[in-house]
Structures are given as structure tokens and as C-alpha cells.
Subunit: 464 residues, 4 copies
């Protein structure tokens, strides 16, 4: 307890995501990369025995981190340390075929990509769950009229399901970006020190086709459809930028969604689940603070701030590679994933147990309705033959006047009365009554939700 | 000259890009949106006469900005000001069908999207030109051996064409992102004040299909394949984030590419075109400063910094819309496009006239070659039966020793001699001579360039 | 109207700020720098005649931009172009003493610093006005009880003046930072091409004291107390970072303050001035949107995003100077100042005419008071001998229960009744009545405001 | 090893810095805050016994984290969990006086400030050490002529000590900012739930002076000179922005300095210490990669990216406090400090053992000198009566011509010959010989270093 504890680790992220970015995952992946390199080299004709391969295979999971540490303090070189530790276990004979033609970047870059791929898969699964939940929520509440707000001021009516379908849509955009990234993702493969595969040219007697096969066979073996045709020592750091852009975009969605939740919880229209025994505040125990939403918004700010780091790295790499990426990459990519993982856990938790206070929503609608329907009144009046611009100005003046009265203590909203009394609106009481019918005032909100889910969300969820 | 002059306007960006973000383009687009709204409404059965339409059509290009200004200072409302100015020209009869069911966001948001779409097209064209140039450059120099650098230290050899193919690849990634964005791009369409299309429901007697048709017909008319199924008052500001992410990514490529150029110009291996009469520096006239590259890097930093603004906007929109996006959107999106436009103009100019100093490149290669081929020596020795790890350590020790001597004034690099004298390397003079052949030391650089261009670049450029 | 129009120029910033970053200001400053350099050189013994000086002096304001443009298209060098244009006017004799020992950076860097200094002064004046206004506002409302919010949930009471004093305090922090920057600000002076003043060493026959005097005399002449002891070709770009940090910090204050205003305007407790004839929204004319606050928040996001650009520049300057700062500096610094200028104009406008709806504030307080005073009840109960932790748990349970009832339709808040009936609280009706007295529940809000203004604000405003 | 390991913790930061942000430090500080609150309350007349105080005092260091965890999983409230765990140890009697009038923010915010204060102190000490080292380095090399570079092109001469004094100056700017922050730093003190100290008003029978004393006595007790006069529930998050601005500024300095080092190491002019047994690269063992510099630059990028997070938090706090700061604050502030700590450790290590290759520096100077002295030639010629602008143009043309020849294979730099042969320069061989004297061509570099250190650095280091 006498060192910094990263709360992403101790509090927020899932075991699965923490594992992907763990030393155990990383270094067993290195051994898999060493083993599979030899295996694929053998398949392509290099003189490697099954006995040698078996020795490598046997010790993949068997990492003694103390031995590694000893070597690392000696060499000050992470890859060499792990290579020696692995070779110690595999024995002298296997040692000879270890790391043939390879460089540090073969281990490091490919492992980075494998970690990112696995992490994206976890994110994808959590996103699908969330999208399903929000789809259901949107359908359930597609007709529940609720006050819409523009400029944080009561505007017209929308429905709760329509509002939540917009949250859903934000996530759909993010999901599409995720699929775009994963469908384009490449393995770094075997490229050598400066990317020209010269050590492999040597090994395979200048046979380019064989080295291309080695590259793509290894990629498949490690779970990738594609391998970069060209790299420098490393894969282009722009790829990391695309990852942090995606995670930032998802964080933006989460920030926007939870800002809405927090405001609706202020209105008491919606409420996060509040667990028994939970203490909201030591001084104000009755309060129901939207703590999940606030935590999500907080983690989103962190994730968004990391975005610039990857752009800065990509922009300042020099020639075939400089190492001013490494320490930053160990911090920004894992933590952006861990924070996003936490955000999705919290969003799923939030929407699995959210409480909708229909009575309060209805009360708010009823109170404001006469006032917010001026647009519809204007439409009706225009339809009845009124001049839109003149009536628009009139209704503005009447509205101001009523507002002034209300601020001065009047309790009756007599806007409707004023309009009915003004002949230029050409409106009857019956017209007004029709307008004030709540079900008539949610526009196509409900149809839109159905249409959106059918056309966009359902096809996306097929087979998920 | 007594006000701030934005250099993107006065110096850097193209006329075409400046026009897209001009008042002229913006406000004629508004009039087109008004006119086409009426046209499509008529097609779907609303009672609108050709005479009314003709009046609107006639004045689309005819904007008197002084009249607009007068109205704006009166109403403090941009859309109203333009509506009145347009109506003044179109006359009372046409006025009645103007802006029917529409809101400010119909004009503003759709115009923003149209501007972005047009701007992306300009960017695409400039990118294609640049990609073609870099493709040609890469092919031309695919076999020209050049010192590769890692950590800014001489590493092995690569080829100039291989290095430039990596620049090309960065741009290919950006281009794919551009196509992803444009293929998913949607028109905002007619959605009403809070997004539920209630004014159009009224107009079209609750016929949702008709309003959907209105939406998609308008989209097509204004040049879009798709229209958002749902929006709030506005399209999701996450779209703007995706645009600024793309522009930042492209800026990152440009920054990386020009950093490489600047370093190579330091080595005198490559040189930007230097125009006659151009003064490099008042104090040091002989200098050939890489001023295009520096300007590109500078504009790239500006573009990258704008990225965070759109994320901040998207994350802090509240409910159906808040207006804390508008002023920022008028600054960050146009300027990110103008700066990117300038970057691409400069990159095209740079590569159209770049000078490659082959003799200097060759001289550098020759000087460093014996020294940088230790990896190949190691490979050969391993192949001849040596123990890789033991020899690796030996070669490290020898190299250090030679370096020490060189720093102390020795002029002869006797690394090769030391190796030949050490029997554990199992190497002959013939082995060494083969290794020191320059053509043997660029690995598969040339094949990779061909493979990359054939498999990735050419299909992308088809029909361009 | 066929080019991009920057809204900072056309809409938001003041004439004064736009002038500081204008070509007119910039290039007359160059001439002043040329003239004063000669003047100070003469004073320190260089052979320069009054006639020559008079020629230079005469044409300081007389810039023919067409002539300059002609030279610039020839030389592609901004400083040379202006030098030739100036020399053309001053004549051959004066020409000989022009730019003696100087380099481009003498003009450019010193002018940048002069512009920043002038711009900071404008900012300072607008900040002082705003601080005075907010001081007055805070005193006026120091005792007006208002609902405080934590987590956007009703918490205890505070006063409006207390809340506004926190806005004031944010600005006080910014003001201190401004004074810190200006008190440390240095002129770049005469430093030569790479900063070692070698051309001046030549001119002044190796007399370092004379060159130091030249430096500090010039600084004073151009309005600076201090001059950098050392520079490279340029002043350290970290200074620009400090400027953009300050402007971002001020933007953060503005964003926070206007977020609060926007929320309070949602509650109708406070209202921005709404001008006659102003159209809030074409569809919802009755609405009173907080448009100043939203615009401020929008410009603040832009300003904050620019912050990273200056850090990126400072971090990536190489050795004695690279030119990948220039284009970005022409964009980020002026625009950050213009946006900040606009923010302060709007904030001043906002607070000069803000409307406080006391009746609504009081109504809100009255409705929530019984509910939010559980902390005070707890204090009282503890004082009367109750066990804090036990009662805290009890009050939490009661509160939850009452909340549940209210959500289910109960209209009476019977929390007080439940507490009085529970003997472990040891509270009498009289105790409760005392607690519910509104004047008793604003804590020391009023005293704090007085104390803060007296101790912190007033001394700062002295002589302003 | 199956969870993410933050490399700041496992590899880079110091034990001391890791301790400041540890649970142990944090929660013992909470207990100190509880204990001292009671102690100061007693001093100001609250009925608290020494026995009670002693009980609290006794268990300050004695935290059983398992007990805390049990309570936290029950309450989901960190402060309550620690309060109960502490109270369990202190017993029923002491429990009564625990947390009197306090809220969670009393613990959290004050602890945050204490951590920041301690962390700044560590940073300050490491900065002083580094400044001393760089001062010594600058003095040692103040006269060592070295090629200066502008645009990454050889410009005139400077000295190594002059260049390093610019690095030093960057750190001096950062140091001044640090002192500005610490001299203005305030304790949050006792402010209550929404900042109005109402619980303390109750406790101290409305005596404001007593509560002010409580505030300032506590501040002193916890190591602060000053206490905020006003806060909301929390101290203004702008303070955190100022911290991250400072750390980003320092990171910018480090990035710039190490970019210079990396470039100089490319030139072999300077070299980082290379430890025995250290493996630079598995494939290229002879290489001496500037790994400290690269790691510093990498950590600097991370630190700089975190800057935006604190601005985003400060800008989006609503009213008396929202909790969308907390999770982010636990990540960005500690990690920015840990990364900065690592940067300073590495910078100190780097400069403690840096190697200067004088011979190589001299060789570079000698080779380029004739070429880079055109400015001095121009000065001399002007002094001898030549027309600066005409000669400037001539020298430009000659230089271009020589450059062209050199690129085409000529090996002799005959610029000097061309100038001597041109009578308009009015220069003799003797003039030229004087100009080419290396000691004459470093300008006032050496004097400047002395002057800067004496006037700026030494006073700053006094008593350190």
C-alpha cells in the first residue's frame, strides 16, 4: 500500500481487460511468437527439428519472472532478458533456432497489435450488450412523451425512446468505426531491423515468395487475416492514433449520454439504481446522486485527453523508427482501453437498472404543454390562411408578455386565451383542443425509433 | 490592413477551399435548401405553384448582404435575417411557401454537411494527386540504397523508394479513412425543432412515408445518398469529431513525412526546390532551408490541436441541442480544412520538384557500410554453425572497441579485421566480400515496394 | 464574400484587439524597430547621422502594401520585402544604416512580443471591469439564499452572492497569472542569427557592455522593463505556451461560469438580458435562450483546444531554431487572444444586464428546505447528545422512505414528522423550527463574501 | 503478473513519489486530518477530552485495509468506510468527536492538496539538482565553439555552453512557475458541504472569527501558509489545471532538450552514457542509441497529453460541485507527477554522465567554417563601405553557385576565392583571415553565459 495504486486496476476495469495488458499475457505472447516463427520457418524449409520445436512449445506458459529480472538488470534490454530466460529452459539445442532473423520489434510490435485486437474484441462484446439494452429501452419508451430541451430550455415534446435512440445512434457510429478498424487491421509480421527483411532474405536464399508466405502464415497463426505489406522497424504509429481516436469517440458518446442522464436525474425524471446500504453523501443522506454517470463522465474526460498523445507520437517518429514512442505507448494505450472498459461496464450497469419516473415525466409535460405548442399553433394558423411571419412576431410578443407576468407572480398561463382572442390567427377552440392533445405532439418520434432500429440497428445485430 | 488577417486566407489555402467556406457559398446554399424544400413539398402534394417556385429559384444567387445585415442587426438572428432578405426579393406570394415546417437547423446543419462534403472532395482530389506522385517517386527510387536510421543512428540499409513508400502508406491509411467517412455520410434533412418532425407531420397529415420521402428526396437533390434516420435538433456532433480526427490524422502523416524530409535535407541527401530570387535567410544567403516542409509541419501542428475542440463539443452537448457548438464550429472546421488544403498544396509542390542527391546518398552508404553490416555477419556466422548469442555478444564488444578508437582519433574502421581473426565466427574473406556488396544489402526493399503498390495502391487508384 | 470570413473578425472581437494583430500594427512596429535600432546605435557611438534617422522616422506609418507585395513575390521573404519597401522611401543614404546587425527574427520575434504585451493589456482592462462588476454583484446578493447543488441535486443552501464570489475567485486566479506573466515578460532584443550577437560584436568592436546597453535601451524604448539575457535565434517558445495556458485558464473560468448561468437560466432563477426585437428561436419565440453564455462556452472550447498547439511547438523546436513554429504562431496566438477578447466582451455584457428572479429563487428555497436540512438536524441532534453515526443511518433510511412515497404520488413531505416522532434524535418542535428558519441556513456565506472581497479582491483593485 | 502493470510504478518513478500517491500516504493523511480537526476544535473551545484525542492520535498509522474494504463493499462510500474503520479502533468515546462538522471533501480535497504540495517539493529538489548540473555544464563549455543549426541546417557558430544555457533557461522558466504556484498555494480547510461552513457555524455558535481561526490553524498544522477564503464543496479545479500546465511546461522543456541531445548524438558530438553489458539493439550491437533521451521524450508526450484533462474538468464543473472530476483526478494528477519525476530522474542521470566529443565538434566546425561566415564577411564589407543589400545579393548568388558545384562532385569550397576576387566587397586577405579565426566567431556566447548565470541562475540557487 506504499505505492501509487492505479484505480483502473484496483477499482474500475474488468479482470479480462486487465489480463490482456498484463505481463503474463505479453510475455507468453512473446514465446508464442518465437515458437510460431520457428514452426513456420520449418514448414518453409528451414532446418529445424521437431525436438527443438517441442522444447520451445513446452515452456510457453512457464515464465520465471525472477530469472527475467536478473537478466534485465544485466542487459538493460527487455527482449534479450526474456530471450535468455526462455533459452535457459529450452536448452542449448532449441536455443539455436530461437529468434532466427528476428528483432525486438518482431516481439514488441506484434504483441502490441495482438493486445489491441483482443482488447477491441472485449470492447465489441460490451458494446453489443449495451446496444441491445438501449434498443430495448428505446422501443419500450418510444411513445412516452417527455419535454424536449434546446438551450437547456423547455422546447417541444419528444419521447423518451426517441431521446435514447439518439444515444443508441451515437454508439452505432462508434460501432461502425470499430468494425472499420478491425476489418483493416494488419499483423506486423517479420520485417527486420529497418523493415527490409534482410535477415529473412539471407535465411531464405533471396526467395521473396517464401518470406511473404512466412509473413502471412505467421499472421494467420496469430489470429490475423492480413499482414502489412511494408513497415519500417515498426508498424505505422498512425494505427495507434486510429485506436485512440476510436476510444475517444466512444468516450464522447458516453460523456454526452451521461450528461443527459445527469440532467434528467436532476429533473427526477430518471434515476440510477441506488443500492441498499449505499451512502450517497455523508452529510445529505437523502440525496440520490448519479454516481455512475458522473464516474463515466470522469473516465471519459481521461480517455479523451489521451487522444493527443498518440497523434503526437505518430507525428514525431523519425525515419525508420525512434524510441520516443515506447514508454508513452505502455501508458496511453492500455489505460485508454482500461478506462473504456470501465465506462462500458458502468453504462451497462446503469441501463440494466435504470428507473423511469413516468409520473414525474407526465407532470412536467402537462405543466409546460400549453406554452411549448406555439410552433404547432403557428403551423395550424398558417394552414388556416394566416401569414406565418406576422403571426410569428405576434406570438413572440404574446409569449414575452405572459412570461413577464409569470415572473411577476401571476400563476395562470393565459397564452392560449390571448391567441384565441386574436382573429388574425384564424383559430377556433376546437383547433386549440386538437393541438393540446399530448399524443398529437410527439411528432413522428415513435415511427422514427421503429424505422431507425429496423433499418440500422437490427441488421447490425444480426448473428450477434 | 487594420484588422487581423488570417494567413490561411491571405497566404496558404486555395481559392476553391476558401470559397466553400465563404458567405457566398453558405447563403446561396441556404436559398437552395429553401427552394428545394418547397420543390420537394410540391412534388409530394403540398399546394405550391410553379410561379411561387420560380420566384424562389430566380433569386438564389442574388444576395444583397447589406440588406441582410440590416435585418440581422434588427433581429439578432442570422436565419431570420436571410429569410426576410430572400422574401423581399421573392415577393409576398412566394413568401408564403418559404421555410414551411423548417427551422434554423434545417439551413445551418445541412449547409455544414454540404460544405464538409465539398471540402472532402477537394481534399480527396489533392490526395490522389499526391499519392500518384509518391507512387512514381517510390518506383523510381525503389532500388536506390540509402542509410536507414533508427534512433536517429545509422542502422542498416534501406532504399529511398522503400522509405517513400512508407510515406505513401500513411497517406493510403488516411485515404481509406476518407472513403469510410464519405461512404457513411448522411444529410441531416428535415427534422424539426427537436428532431421529431412534428411540423412536417402537421403539413403531411401524419403521413410518415411522405415525410421520409421528403427527407430522402431532399438529400438526393442536395447531393447525398443517405439521410439520417434520426437526429435531435441537429445531427450528432460526433460526425464533426470524425472529420477533425481525419484531418488530424492526415496532418500527422504530413508532419512525419516532412520531419523525414527535413532530416534528409540536413544530410543533403534530398532537397526541396529553391526558386530563383528566393532569399533563404537574410543573414545566411547560401542556406537551403526546407521551408515547405517546415511550413507543412507548422500547419500540421495547428490542425492537430483543433482535434480536441470537436470532441469537447460532442461530449458536452445537452439533450436535444445546446448552442455551445456554433461559434466554435465556425472556427475549427473551416480552418482545419483550410490548413489541410494548404498542407496538401505544399506537399504536392514539394514532391513535384524535389531533388535527390544520389552522389551524396551513395557516399554516405559507402562510408558506413562495413560498420552497419554486423547483423548480416551475424546471420552468416550463425548459418555457418556459430552460436548466435555468443557471437552477438562478441560483435557487440568488438564494435564498442572500434567506436572507442574512432572517437579517440583512429581513422581506420578495423571491425572486419577483428571478426575475420576470430575463428568462432567461422567466416572467410569471401563470405565477408559477399556481405559487403551493396546490392545485397537492401533486403527485399525493392520487391516490397512493387508488391505494396501492386496490391494496395494500384487498386485504390483505379479509375482515378 | 467568396472567401472564408473568420467570425472572430466579422462578429466577435473588438476593433482594438483586431488592430493589434493587423498588418498595419505589425509592419509599423517593424519600422519602429528599425528606426529605434539605428537611434540606439547612434547613441552608443555608431556613425549615424540625424538626417539618416529623420528619413527613417518620417516613413514609419507610411506603408504601401502593394510595393511590399511586389517585393515579396520576388524574394519570397517577408522581411526583405518590407526592408526594400522601407528603403525605397527612406532613400539611399538612410538605407545604409537600415537593419545594421539585425536579422529577420529581430523584427518578427520582437513584434510578436509587443503584440502579446499589448493584447495582454487589453485583456487586463476587460478583466478589471468584469471583476468590479462581479464584486458588486456578489455584495448585492451576498445574503440572498439560494438552493445549492452538488451532483446537480439540491443540496443545502448557499447565497447567490457566495456563488458569484466563486466565479469572481476563478477570475482572480487568472488575473494573478496574468500579472505573473507580465511581470516576468522580456523583450527579445538584438541577438543575431543564432543568438550569440556576433554581428553586434563586430559593430561594437567586441564591447559586450555596449551591446548589453543596446539590448536594454531598445527594450525600454519599445516598452519593456526587461530583455532576455540569452536567446537562440528566437525567444524560447515556452513563453507562447505560458500565454496559451493563461488564455485557456481564463476560458475554463468562462466555461464554468456560463455553465452555471445556463443551468440557473434553466431554473429561471437568473436570466440574460433579452433585447427587444431579438428572435430567440424561429420556431419557439417565447424561449429565452442563454445565447451569450452559450457563445462564451463555445469560444472557450475553441480557445482551450488551441492550448496544445503551443506546447507542441515548444517541444519540437530543434537546436537554434526551426521554422515549424511560424505558420502556427500566426494562427493560434492571435486567434486565442481574439476569442478571449470576445469572451470578455460577452461576459461583461452578460453581467451588466443580468436579471435575477428573486421570487423564483425564494420559491425554490421554500419548497426544498425541509428536505435539505437533514445535516443541520443531525448536527443539532448530535449536540443534544445523539450518536452521530446511528442517527445518520436513521435519517438516511427515513429520507429514502419519504422519497419513495413522493415518487409514488404522495404529496406531503413528512420527513420532519418522522424525525420528531423518533426519540433517539432528542429533538423538540422548537429545535426544528429554529432549524427551518431560512436566515439560519446560509451558513457563513455572507461573511465569507465580505471577507474574501476585503482580503483578496479590494487590494488587487487598488488604483485600478 | 496477470493484471496491467503501470510502468511508472514498476520502472520509472521514484519510491518517494510513488509513496506520496499511495493508499498508505492518503489514508494516514485522512486520519491526521480527523485528528487535527478535533485537536483544533478543542483549542477553540469545543468540549473534547485529551483522552479522546489520544485515542485518535494512537491509531493514525494503524490502518487495516481489509477492515476498510469490508466497510466499503457495504457502504460503497470510501470516506464512510475509513471513518468506521478508524472509529472501530478509537472506540466509542473517541468516535463521538470524529468528523465533527466535516464532510467527505474535507478529507479528499485537503489530501489532494497535501499530496500535490509534497510532490511539488520532490520536483523542486530534482529541478535544483538538474539546474546546478546544467549550470556547471554551461560554464565548462561556454567557450567550446560548435556549429549552430537553424532549420536543421548549419548556420553560424555558437558554443556548447551557450546552447546548454538555453536548456537551463527553459528550466529556469519552469522553476519560476513552480515557485509562483507554491507561493500562492492554499489549503482547502473546513468549508462544509456546499462551502458555506454551516455545520461549523452551528458548532461554534455563529462565531465567524472562531471558524476562520479553525481554518487557518488547521492549514498551518497541515503545512500550509494560506487557506482559501472561499470554496464551493471543493477547491476550484482550476488549481489542478495550473498544476498540469506546469508539469506540461516542464515536459516541453525536457522534450526540447532531449530532441537537441538526440540530434547531437546523431552527429556524434555528444553521447549519453552507455553502461557496460547494456545491449543497445539486438540486431545492431554497435549502436549507441540515446535511450534516456528517447524515454524522456516519450514520457514528456504522455505528460503533455494529460494537460487537457484538467482543463476539461475545470470547465465542466457545475455549480457547487459535480463528481465528474474524481476518477479522472485519481489518474491524471498522480501520473503526471510520476512521469515528471521519471523525466527528472532521467535528465539528472543523463547530464551526470554525458560525454562530449570535442574532437568531433571541432572537426565539424573546421569543415563548415569558411562557408558559414558569409554574415561576418558581409558585416566587414559593409563596414569597409560596401552596400549591404547589393553585397547580400552577390554573396547569395556566389553561395548558390558553390553549392551547386559541391553537389556535382567538386570538392573544393572556393567561396572565399570568389569574394576576394570581387572588388565591390572591398576585402583583403587579411580581413578574411581575421574573419576565419574560430575564436572570433562565437560572438558573445561566452559572455552571455556568464551574464545569464550571474544575473538569473545564481540568485535563484542561493541557499539551495
Amino acid at each position: 500500500m506504499d505505492k501509487y495504486v492505479n484505480p483502473l486496476k484496483s477499482r474500475y476495469a474488468s479482470k479480462e481487460m486487465l489480463y490482456i495488458f498484463s505481463p503474463k499475457f505479453k510475455y507468453t505472447t512473446w514465446r508464442k511468437l518465437w515458437y510460431n516463427l520457428a514452426l513456420m520457418q520449418k514448414e518453409l524449409g528451414i532446418d529445424i527439428s521437431n525436438k527443438q520445436l517441442n522444447k520451445l512449445s513446452k515452456y510457453i506458459e512457464d515464465i520465471d519472472f525472477k530469472v527475467v529480472e536478473k537478466y534485465e538488470s544485466k542487459f538493460q534490454h527487455e527482449v534479450m532478458a526474456h530471450l535468455y530466460a526462455y533459452a535457459d529452459l529450452a536448452g542449448n539445442n532449441a536455443k539455436k533456432i530461437l529468434h532466427m532473423g528476428a528483432t525486438s520489434a518482431y516481439l514488441m510490435d506484434n504483441t502490441d497489435l495482438i493486445q489491441i485486437k483482443e482488447a477491441l474484441l472485449l470492447i465489441e462484446n460490451k458494446m453489443i450488450k449495451l446496444i441491445k439494452t438501449l434498443k430495448k429501452f428505446s422501443i419500450t419508451y418510444k411513445e412516452l412523451a417527455i419535454l424536449a430541451y434546446t438551450h437547456l430550455q423547455e422546447a417541444q415534446l419528444t419521447t423518451l425512446g426517441k431521446r435514447s435512440s439518439l444515444w443508441l445512434q451515437s454508439l452505432v457510429f462508434d460501432f461502425k468505426e470499430l468494425k472499420f478498424i478491425t476489418s483493416n487491421m494488419c499483423f506486423r509480421g517479420v520485417k527486420g531491423t529497418v523493415g527490409n527483411q534482410s535477415s529473412f532474405k539471407e535465411l531464405f536464399s533471396s526467395n521473396f515468395e517464401k518470406v511473404k508466405n512466412l509473413d502471412s502464415n505467421l499472421a494467420k497463426k496469430m489470429g490475423f487475416d492480413k499482414v502489412y505489406k511494408i513497415t519500417s522497424q515498426t508498424y505505422d504509429r498512425k494505427f495507434d492514433s486510429s485506436i485512440l481516436n476510436f476510444l475517444s469517440n466512444l468516450a464522447q458518446s458516453a460523456h454526452k449520454i451521461t450528461n443527459d442522464i445527469r440532467f434528467m436525474q436532476h429533473l427526477k425524471e430518471i434515476e440510477e439504481n441506488f443500492e441498499k446500504h449505499q451512502i450517497g453523501s455523508s452529510a445529505m443522506p437523502y440525496k440520490r446522486n448519479p454516481i455512475y454517470s458522473e464516474r463515466i463522465a470522469s473516465l471519459a474526460k481521461f480517455t479523451m485527453s489521451l487522444q493527443s498523445s498518440s497523434g503526437f507520437i505518430a507525428a514525431t517518429q523519425w525515419l525508420e523508427r525512434t524510441l520516443d514512442d515506447s514508454a508513452c505507448k505502455r501508458l496511453n494505450i492500455p489505460q485508454a482501453f482500461l478506462a473504456t472498459d470501465a465506462i462500458l461496464i458502468l453504462l451497462n450497469k446503469l441501463f440494466d437498472n435504470i428507473r423511469v419516473n413516468k409520473k414525474i415525466i407526465e407532470k412536467h409535460v402537462k405543466t409546460e404543454m400549453p406554452f411549448i405548442l406555439t410552433e404547432d399553433i403557428l403551423m395550424k394558423a398558417t394552414k388556416n390562411g394566416g401569414d406565418r411571419q406576422i403571426l410569428h412576431e405576434k406570438i413572440r410578443v404574446y409569449s414575452m408578455q405572459v412570461k413577464e407576468n409569470l415572473y411577476s407572480g401571476t400563476t395562470e398561463n393565459d397564452l392560449i386565451k390571448l391567441i384565441l382572442n386574436d382573429a388574425s390567427f384564424k383559430l377556433t377552440s376546437k383547433d386549440i383542443d386538437e393541438i393540446l392533445n399530448p399524443n398529437e405532439n410527439i411528432g413522428f418520434a415513435s415511427c422514427q425509433v421503429e424505422d431507425f432500429i429496423k433499418a440500422i440497428v437490427d441488421p447490425m445485430l444480426e448473428n450477434k
